[in-house]
């Protein structure tokens, strides 16, 4: 087991011809991707395009029908891969353990792998919670927190591992714009601090264009385009253009009310 004391080098990720179907319905149709070590890679696309399923394959929570995922050249299905590389995931729901309090949730990785004495774990947990803007919530239970706070606790839990690869599944959903910016900043800070490779699945265009080194646009279980944010913006593909520049139709915007006293 790798100790989080020494930051380890970031890892590359390669997805080769990944296919997955649920009840005969294809969800991933031959996905091919390469993410370089230390890169922040955003996967953007409409709901139901298979982004979260792809993420779960990358971290080995799902087995593909065919194709493979490689972490630093090693198959994710290889035994002991989790002992060789520190990988973390921030789930869309937060996935906090409801039977544990916030401090126990954040410190669970260190506690279960006996990496630090309890007093030091408590200190690291408090520091990590403060870093994501949560102070003094250590003793609270997850169900006493708002959705946004739960999400930040989940981010703290992932960051405490000092991961070499970190996957974010819709990290800004349920967050207000201010906190979404904080989370975006945290992802960028992580890059500066640990050089970790980050894969961010999101349909938050502002977040994706703001933090990504490169991006992939996904729709209908396929990768439509991979490139830098600038290249994505310039893409002539109408499907990409539609998602990137979609606006609320003006006819649906309610007319401004006249608040002047009559």
């Amino acid at each position: 087991m790798n100790s989080p004391a020494q930051p380890l080098p970031s890892v590359s990720v390669e997805v080769r011809d990944l296919r997955k179907s649920f009840h005969g319905k294809p969800v991933l149709k031959g996905i091919k991707l390469k993410v370089a070590p230390g890169e922040i890679f955003a996967i953007m696309g409409p709901s139901g395009s298979g982004k979260s399923v792809l993420l779960k394959h990358i971290i080995g929570l799902m087995e593909p029908d065919s194709g493979e995922v490689f972490i630093q050249g090693e198959s994710i299905a290889a035994p002991g891969i989790r002992d060789n590389y520190r990988m973390a995931m921030v789930f869309q729901s937060g996935a906090l353990l409801t039977s544990l309090n916030v401090a126990e949730n954040v410190g669970i990785y260190l506690t279960e792998h006996l990496m630090r004495p309890p007093e030091e774990i408590a200190r690291i947990v408090s520091a990590q919670l403060e870093a994501v803007g949560l102070k003094g919530v250590e003793e609270q239970m997850p169900n006493e927190l708002s959705g946004g706070m739960q999400k930040r606790v989940a981010i703290a839990r992932a960051l405490i591992m000092d991961p070499q690869l970190i996957l974010f599944d819709e990290p800004t959903s349920e967050l207000d714009p201010l906190m979404a910016a904080v989370v975006g900043g945290e992802i960028l800070k992580l890059k500066g601090r640990t050089q970790a490779t980050a894969i961010v699945v999101t349909h938050d265009r502002e977040l994706a264009f703001g933090i990504a080194d490169r991006m992939a646009m996904m729709a209908g279980g396929e990768i439509l385009f991979v490139g830098t944010p600038e290249e994505i913006k310039r893409s002539p593909d109408p499907r990409i253009h539609e998602f990137t520049y979609a606006r609320l139709p003006t006819s649906h915007v309610p007319p401004k009310r006249n608040l002047e006293p009559t």
Binding site: K56, I59, L61, M89, F91, T98, Y109, E112, M161
Partner: protein, 248 residues
């Protein structure tokens, strides 16, 4: 069904492999022990008292009519420790603790908490299944050990109070001491240990394979309880045959 049985055997084997980690999980084991053992104590007390009482009430008048009332103590004593206490308590624990195990693990499965554990390289078997298995394997035999004398007491009270039976406390326990041996109590405790393992592994497995939302959790809980009770009754027959064979 066969796939489920195979998965349960594999899960049981994997749980055995995680036994060296038991000390690390001691806090969770104590929590579960408290939940299963202490939480069920009053219920077990009431159940055992009334089972012993009803047993005496049903058989006492018939035996008294035939002039066999002096065997009542031995009969209630043996029935309680070899059959009724382990089986009835196993059914109670399947309903009370087996359902709780499958519901808790099932909801963790549905709400991605188990996935989160796996991403942190924490084995759900050692983290979730092992503490529950250890706790139920200790708690159920301990509860049976507690329930046996309570059941005897229930039988003795009914025998002495009911005027159709009219067997005094002394006569009841004198016969019981002559008939019931230490091996009979061990017999019941051993049965309950096996029942505990069956209930624990079936309930945890059902939790781990839960799919869908709240409806899936409900379905898992129902299956866990029903399958546990059916398994207890089937196992009881084969264990009784085995123990009769061993005692020969």
């Amino acid at each position: 069904m066969f796939q489920n049985i195979g998965e349960i055997i594999v899960l049981f084997w994997r749980t055995l492999q995680t036994l060296p980690l038991a000390w690390r999980q001691r806090r969770k084991v104590f929590d579960q022990l408290f939940e299963i053992g202490n939480g069920s104590l009053l219920m077990v007390c009431i159940l055992a008292l009334f089972i012993g009482g009803v047993l005496a009430l049903q058989t006492g008048p018939v035996l008294t009519e035939r002039g066999l009332s002096y065997v009542l103590g031995g009969m209630v004593g043996l029935s309680m420790c070899k059959e009724l206490a382990p089986v009835m308590l196993a059914i109670l624990i399947a309903g009370r603790s087996g359902s709780a195990m499958s519901a808790e693990i099932g909801s963790m499965r549905v709400y991605e908490e188990i996935d989160a554990l796996r991403t942190m390289n924490i084995d759900p078997v050692s983290y979730l299944v092992l503490p529950r298995m250890l706790a139920i394997a200790v708690a159920l035999p301990a509860l049976v050990l507690f329930a046996i004398p309570v059941g005897w007491l229930g039988g003795a009270v009914v025998s002495s109070v009911n005027h159709h039976i009219a067997v005094g406390f002394d006569t009841f326990f004198q016969d019981l001491r002559q008939v019931v041996e230490f091996g009979d109590i061990v017999n019941g405790v051993f049965k309950s240990f096996v029942f505990a393992l069956a209930i624990g592994i079936i309930s945890c497995h059902q939790g781990l394979i839960t799919r869908g939302g709240p409806r899936g959790i409900g379905r898992s809980v129902t299956k866990a309880v029903v399958n546990s009770i059916v398994s207890v009754l089937i196992l009881d027959y084969f264990l009784t045959r085995f123990l009769l064979y061993v005692q020969k």
